[in-house]
Subunit: 132 residues, 2 copies
DNA sequence: GACGAATATACGTCTATACGTATATTGACG
DNA sequence: CGTCAATATACGTATAGACGTATATTCGTC
């Protein structure tokens, strides 16, 4: 992956906020949507953009698409994600997103699903809807 | 300076190459132009873009405009420039630019002017043209 | 003051992309 | 199979920005 493509992914605020969230762990589309307060199409399109360029990976679990940062990042991507992590602490938008993220992850069903995803285990929970 | 603006500056290849060169020290427009092999207008416009957003500073010395990275960078900018520095070593374009930069800086008149600029000293050289 | 070198700006065109609305797809479940 | 939830895609519009051509500006020199 070329360096310029990394920056092209980072140069939009919505994508920046998405990646910032994914630094904390995998998330499903509907939660990203809720946290950012953007429309479903918009989030989905930006995620597609990121996926096409190898900035994120997606995996379907039942009805939900779980997005995450790639398991294996190039050194360039790794360096930039680390840099992003450091830089995001100062701006209010990102802190706000993190606060909302905590709320979402504190929901038991959500946490269960995401934990299973993280471990690569099949999702066994029987929650019908993750989105409230 | 907002983080997103930094990335917007970095997301164009020409600007990325310019900033990469400026990491090595101040340069005048005509040399950036020669090194990148781009038209004068194009380089000038990208430099304006960068200057408007505080990514570079410019100072006139006689006929030449010397561009450089800001004396005082925000922590975010600093972090990203450092990251850029690290990431640029792998791609051929940047290595090629560096090679051409060595040639330019090896010209005595150029080196003299740039050194005086670096020290904040008035430019005393009497070279008529820095561009060959 | 005319001229040349270095640089910047104006203006027009073209392309990428951001986003809204509508519609399609995919999976679970009764 | 119909329906719903979650997600993706198609299509149209608007805007940022990349770039070329022409022209202006700024400075030094004769």
């Amino acid at each position: 992956m070329k360096l310029i493509q990394i920056y092209q992914c980072l140069c939009d605020e919505t994508r920046l906020r998405i990646l910032h969230l994914l630094l904390r762990g995998p998330l499903c589309v509907c939660h990203i949507q809720k946290i950012l307060g953007e429309s479903q199409v918009n989030i989905s399109r930006h995620l597609s953009y990121l996926k096409e360029r190898g900035m994120v990976e997606a995996e379907r679990h039942q009805n939900w698409m779980i997005y995450r940062l790639p398991a294996k990042c190039s050194p360039e991507l790794e360096a930039n994600l680390k840099c992003l992590q450091d830089c995001c602490t100062t701006e209010a938008v990102f802190r706000g997103d993190l606060a909302k993220l905590q709320k979402v992850v504190s929901i038991r069903e959500v946490r269960e699903v995401l934990e299973q995803v993280c471990c690569g285990a099949p999702v066994l929970g029987k929650a019908k809807s993750l989105c409230r």
